[in-house]
Symmetry: C2
Subunit: 199 residues, 2 copies
């Protein structure tokens, strides 16, 4: 999501929001205005609980979150499995944990594209991304102190089509990257505190 | 996963691997030995493709990956939706992209616990984690230059039970953290390259 500066709207073409790309643009702008006047509404907390199943297989659930001034629930509980593949001695009951990072970055960039294109009056025809992540497992296997545990790098390739020039479409992708929560987390890192209750 | 140093096994209690916690420990150790002798086997590439559906809703697919010296496929294609919740003007067709980061870190820590406990001969009874992530959406909404786009911090609370002392169980969690690919990515960050094909 993004806001265009609203300082001199009369001097420019006035912004006449209308729903586009499945985005309720008037409500989106109203939400932005509401948060602008009441910043506490922007404080969110997302949550997941995860239970070990067996081996490297676990299952996460997400339902409640806090935001917009109160406790919220998704329309339903979402459940996801993760596992290691058979070649890594797992049972492949779900993707690996690191593959969910690929989904997260692609989905975040794409959601931003949906909102930004609507805000700019661009009708999207297609957005498709492929994400590749290179990882040398000698890190997590403890076989090399020079090899990091995580991905060496990610590459995201975005294909976008819509009723605007290639330049304008590319600018929408760039604006989405510049405001992406997942891109920020993956490129800059965040503090992660782990506490243990054992026994 | 982890390896215990194997330099002086004769001096210590010999490692007698047996399947435990659903982990095929003998195969796990054999895999470690194979990678030790042929480091190229450790080079993996994970992949996802994502297609925009409408609004902020997108869907990712994961099936193929490269690793252990060749092209691989999961036992089936995995598909995941992501969306923004209604309070953020989405249609809540899936969790938000940032919630998948919570699943990724919990699942990675838990998979490591499964393997490490088996390698150390500890039978697990229960592993449950809760993850909370605090985020101020004024960042992604473009309403404050002081607020970052991503999470301010994550908190992971791990509850673990098994047939070992609380100290030994806590050490297993700590070793999993120390070798977690997702923990490394989230805390240290990684390079993310984005390319665009528009029009």
């Amino acid at each position: 999501m993004e806001t265009t500066p609203t300082t001199t709207q009369t001097a420019k073409q006035p912004r006449t929001p209308m729903p586009l790309n499945g985005v309720d643009t008037p409500t989106l702008f109203a939400t932005l205005d509401a948060v602008k006047h009441q910043p506490a509404l922007a404080k969110f907390q997302f949550r997941a609980t995860n239970r070990w199943q067996q081996g490297t297989h676990s299952r996460s659930r997400m339902e409640s979150f806090h935001g917009a001034g109160g406790e919220r629930k998704h329309v339903r509980e979402f459940t996801f499995d993760a596992d290691h593949p058979q070649v890594l001695v797992g049972r492949d009951q779900g993707p690996t944990p690191v593959e969910f990072l690929l989904h997260a970055i692609a989905a975040c960039i794409t959601a931003g594209i949906g909102n930004i294109a609507a805000a700019r009056g661009v009708r999207l025809a297609e957005v498709e991304s492929t994400v590749e992540g290179d990882i040398d497992l000698r890190g997590i296997l403890g076989l090399s102190e020079e090899v990091r545990n995580g991905y060496e790098q990610l590459r995201v390739s975005v294909k976008i089509k819509g009723d605007a020039s290639p330049e304008k479409l590319a600018q929408i992708v760039e604006q989405s990257r510049a405001r992406s929560a997942v891109y920020d987390v993956l490129t800059n890192g965040i503090p992660v505190a782990i506490s243990v209750s054992a026994g």
